[in-house]
Symmetry: C2
């Protein structure tokens, strides 16, 4: 094939991608045709010549990865799938219809989509995670290609990705920046100033190339050059036109996220040369096997003596090291506080499976999502308060159906002197309100160790909350703790009320138990370490047995945490019947005022979630006749 | 005074700041002395020569602003206050004690602290907000100085700030980057490579100066030069040593966040030349009055005809324009979706009071916090889903006791075709779990307009959730809606159950009401537009009147939203008595499965939160005898 023939073929393919993007959005009546048209030339050549992907085997370990960080260009992505012969024109026409795999923004309902996008600025940080896997874990030559919009470079997370990709010399990562100048509502900050983008990228340690994104020869050369660099990531900064190729759309404002009306559609398709049914053969990758990370050893969890003082964060660090030996796929990440979360022990034991993410929580969570694309089992830790920094990434990880494990230390007022900025008081609420989530909050070291082990193979977003302070080991090492369970610490036929606690407040509740007992009041005490899913049956039984007298105590704001989880147990949904036992008389003890600095004991007391407050609440219940 | 005398005075002051930082942390037994020592020379000269601040009048409109973005250097900040003569040595020694204003990280309990810091990477974006106010609103010559740590430049939010500060040519913003090379657990990514920082800053459009942060002459010259630039912000990149001046601390790892033991303290103080009691006179600013933003007009809220179809986001835009005329302090911000949130109408009406924040939600929220420091009333809007991007900023805004208004559009599955990435389904949970928050979710345009007006003077974090779809106007324009209230849409002595809805589900509940009535079942219908605070009394009464049969229906995940708010009404806390009416038989209808694309009606149905689901839930309740 001559160069001219080659260029003609690419042109035809690009025009097909544009036409199909227009056709499917017009049928859908919504979507982003013009945002799909600007990078069509870039994607045509990528698909036809550079991408190495076995569409029959999306799990091929040596497949290249392609992420549309500008997820609203989904029509272009789906058009590429049609051109690759893996979806039909008929399916294309189902875009955005209920029941279709072709959603408004890409999701892993499609086997070739690794992660959901649509919240801008996430694709590149996730790409960093995949590229870390490729270079340091898999040790395979595949590339990660990320298509970025220009508007989304305003997101700081994109610069976290630029920073980390260069730090880890990810020469297997190639970003394609579609500089079409127009955002949703007008011109972007930098317009067509591709040099400004290049300067920023270079200052962050990347190779940057500025090209005309509609010049097929320049595109070809840029990809070729990107593949030869071996000491840094590459960004191809492509000047493009939104709506390219169609008069009345090209480089015009007011066309973001708008489908064409049928009459305009026909004119546009004609101008683009009509519909085409080109099917191309995408090159498959060389065979490849991921590098071995060692042989799994039998799991030997750490054990702790009852009565010893051990912080649950300390137990997390110990358990993660043990898990590391048993599960070579376990990877640890931390955001520059590994000596506080105790992820540092794993880093020392398995340096090749630890990635320092510095103080960039969004990038840390995104990297975890990228790692699990390659089937690794990432545990990412920082102070629980700072996981809020990446909440949008957690939300989107759920849309990606990702399996990640997040660990937040230093939760609650019980951290003491550092003050409110360091205290997670909303984390249980935030993580409970994430689809597919599991929320765990252990109170003792043996319990922590067992839960960490169970996190490993748990699907979805799994969150573990740990405590800064050293607390007493209250369980024997051979007790069992399962996700979805709870532990009844005290129970008798004489129980007059039930206290439900988790984590630090279990220890306060145990003190309260002793004091109440001396005062002649016997309570049931439940350690609800599994906040989601919570142990419905045990709580129902306790409510029945103790005349509906429940006290929930938590080191968390009043809203959305353990107290809310317990209340939910007594509500009905489609799936669970309404609780129909004794009338519920539930008291929630939780943090209500903004805490300050102080000792842990002072702050637990001030927040009225300590033993004193529990004793008082129980007394108020058992003295108050039912029904008044 | 000769230059030598001047330098000696500065040196002495810097040593005092170091000594005091050590002294107070040793007494506290915790804190960050070494992080306070590296920028002590920088802060000494700032305080002694450049800062214009009236400590007797922190509200002076022309005061410079100083933000310690590296909030863990709080001991240094407090030492500066002592040197300025506004706190005593005795108070200094109360650092981190319960009841002291000197918390582990700075908070506005101190009148000279504008915003809380301690979550890294937030000070500079907030500084951008203050500088925007200074340059474009106040139009006063004060400067905003931000002390940054080097570790925190890994946060993307710092680069959002670099980007926006240059975009808005904030020559009144000066960042001081304390490059002490050492993070919490070891070397930072860039170490002492000050040139790399300078390259990045320049690529983002800043003036950057590299200096030796312990060379007093260089510091003096850098500040002087920073004040003369008039077309861009300045960053002074200062190479420093952590623990500077003390053998055994200086430039050594393992000393982050550690107080010295008393014996080491004495040696360190001796090496630094002993304790001092220097009080300096800080220059006060010139008098200054903020520019006028116009005279307040009487509020003329938009009104809508009953039965018209108007999206609540549309009403938000209309109401904000009306509020803009009535309240010259109202400022609007949006993250590049103003044509979707309808903030664009305000931008058109009051361009001088609108700031485009591009796709940088963290920066948007931080700018709002900065603007309210100067007593403006910022309304910041984007898709509700994308407000999750700034959740840590919202959390910290609460610690700052900030008064900001956040508006999230496109909430819930009812947005339709765009798919799950664009659907906020956790926002009610997230915002409820923020201290000082108000959470509003109107269902109709007249209601929206009134609530927007009330947001203006509401303190704390005020969140409004709007709906994408056009919905029927169901209330007359002269009905009253107050925060903390609710609206009983249907009520009769025959009510067998109560349905509680908000926003989009109110319209489904109204359909369900009609269908149930035809089937002979009469329900009470409550529009709980004020999700927090919620109308406790109306809900208690409804539970009593309808035998505890409650159905809550919301376009939100099952956890933490309206259903949780309603359940909380029936729990007791210290402040509210336990509900003691009929046994509660509550059904929560909420989103349980990951939604897809589809029409709004298809998605509401699939999620089982439409009229069909409500009818079914009510029937299941009224047919089930109480107590079974």
């Amino acid at each position: 094939m001559t160069t001219q023939e080659q260029l003609y073929q690419w042109h035809e393919l690009a025009q097909q991608l544009r036409v199909d993007s227009i056709r499917m959005t017009t049928i859908a009546g919504s979507g982003h045709p013009t945002s799909s048209m600007s990078p069509a030339d870039l994607m045509a050549i990528l698909l036809a010549k550079y991408l190495r992907y076995d569409f029959d085997n999306p799990d091929h370990p040596n497949n290249d990865r392609l992420i549309f960080s500008k997820g609203h260009a989904a029509p272009l992505l789906y058009s590429m799938y049609k051109a690759a012969g893996v979806i039909t024109d008929e399916e294309l026409r189902s875009l955005r219809h209920f029941g279709s795999r072709l959603e408004g923004h890409p999701t892993p309902l499609l086997p070739w989509v690794d992660v959901a996008t649509g919240s801008l600025g996430q694709g590149l940080p996730i790409g960093v995670g995949i590229a870390l896997a490729g270079k340091y874990l898999d040790q395979l030559p595949y590339h990660t290609w990320v298509l970025l919009g220009d508007s989304e470079t305003a997101e700081g997370s994109v610069w976290e990705a630029f920073d980390h990709a260069a730090h880890y010399t990810l020469d297997n990562l190639i970003a394609i920046l579609d500089v079409n100048r127009l955002g949703q509502r007008g011109q972007t900050e930098l317009g067509w100033n591709t040099q400004a983008y290049a300067n920023r990228a270079r200052a962050f340690g990347w190779q940057a190339m500025e090209i005309d994104g509609h010049d097929l020869t320049q595109i070809d050369q840029a990809y070729s050059a990107a593949l030869t660099v071996n000491d840094r990531p590459t960004v191809i900064i492509a000047r493009t036109k939104k709506g390219k190729g169609v008069t009345g759309l090209e480089d015009l404002g007011g066309w973001h996220g708008k489908a064409l009306q049928p009459e305009d559609e026909q004119r546009a398709i004609a101008e683009l040369g009509g519909t085409r049914q080109i099917i191309i053969s995408v090159d498959t990758p060389e065979p490849g096997t991921p590098a071995s990370l060692g042989n799994p050893q039998p799991l030997q969890l750490p054990t702790y003596h009852k009565g010893a003082k051990v912080a649950t964060r300390r137990a997390y660090g110990d358990a993660l090291v043990a898990l590391g030996a048993a599960e070579p796929q376990v990877i640890a990440l931390d955001a520059e506080v590994s000596n506080s979360t105790y992820a540092e022990d794993f880093a020392e034991a398995y340096p090749e499976r630890y990635f320092e993410m510095y103080i960039a929580e969004q990038q840390m969570i995104a990297a975890a999502v990228g790692l699990q694309v390659r089937e690794y089992k990432p545990f990412a830790s920082t102070f629980a308060a700072f996981l809020t920094r990446g909440y949008d990434f957690v939300r989107m990880a759920a849309v990606s159906r990702a399996n990640i494990k997040l660990v937040g230390s230093h939760a609650g007022v019980s951290i003491g002197q550092d003050g409110a900025s360091q205290m997670a008081l909303e984390d249980l609420a935030a993580f409970r309100a994430v689809w597919s989530s599991t929320v765990l909050y252990p109170c003792d070291a043996n319990q922590t160790a067992q839960l960490v082990a169970q996190m490993c193979d748990r699907n979805g977003i799994v969150y573990l909350r740990t405590t800064r302070e050293s607390t007493s080991v209250i369980y024997d090492a051979d007790e069992d703790f399962t996700i979805g369970g709870s532990k009844i610490i005290h129970s008798s036929p004489q129980d007059q009320a039930t206290v439900i606690a988790a984590g630090i407040t279990v220890h306060e509740a145990m003190k309260a138990y002793d004091r109440l007992k001396k005062a002649g009041i016997i309570i049931r005490l439940i350690d609800a370490y599994s906040v989601k899913p919570i142990d419905v049956q045990t709580l129902h039984q306790a409510a029945k047995d103790t005349k509906g007298n429940l006290v929930v105590v938590e080191d968390h704001w009043l809203e959305g945490g353990l107290g809310a989880a317990v209340l939910d147990v007594f509500a009905g949904t489609k799936n669970t019947p309404i609780y129909a036992g004794s009338p519920l008389r539930l008291i929630k003890l939780a943090v209500r005022d903004m805490p300050s600095s102080g000792t842990p004991a002072e702050l637990l007391h001030a927040a009225q979630i300590d033993a004193d407050a529990i004793v008082k609440a129980v007394k108020s219940q058992v003295r108050q006749p039912v029904g008044v």
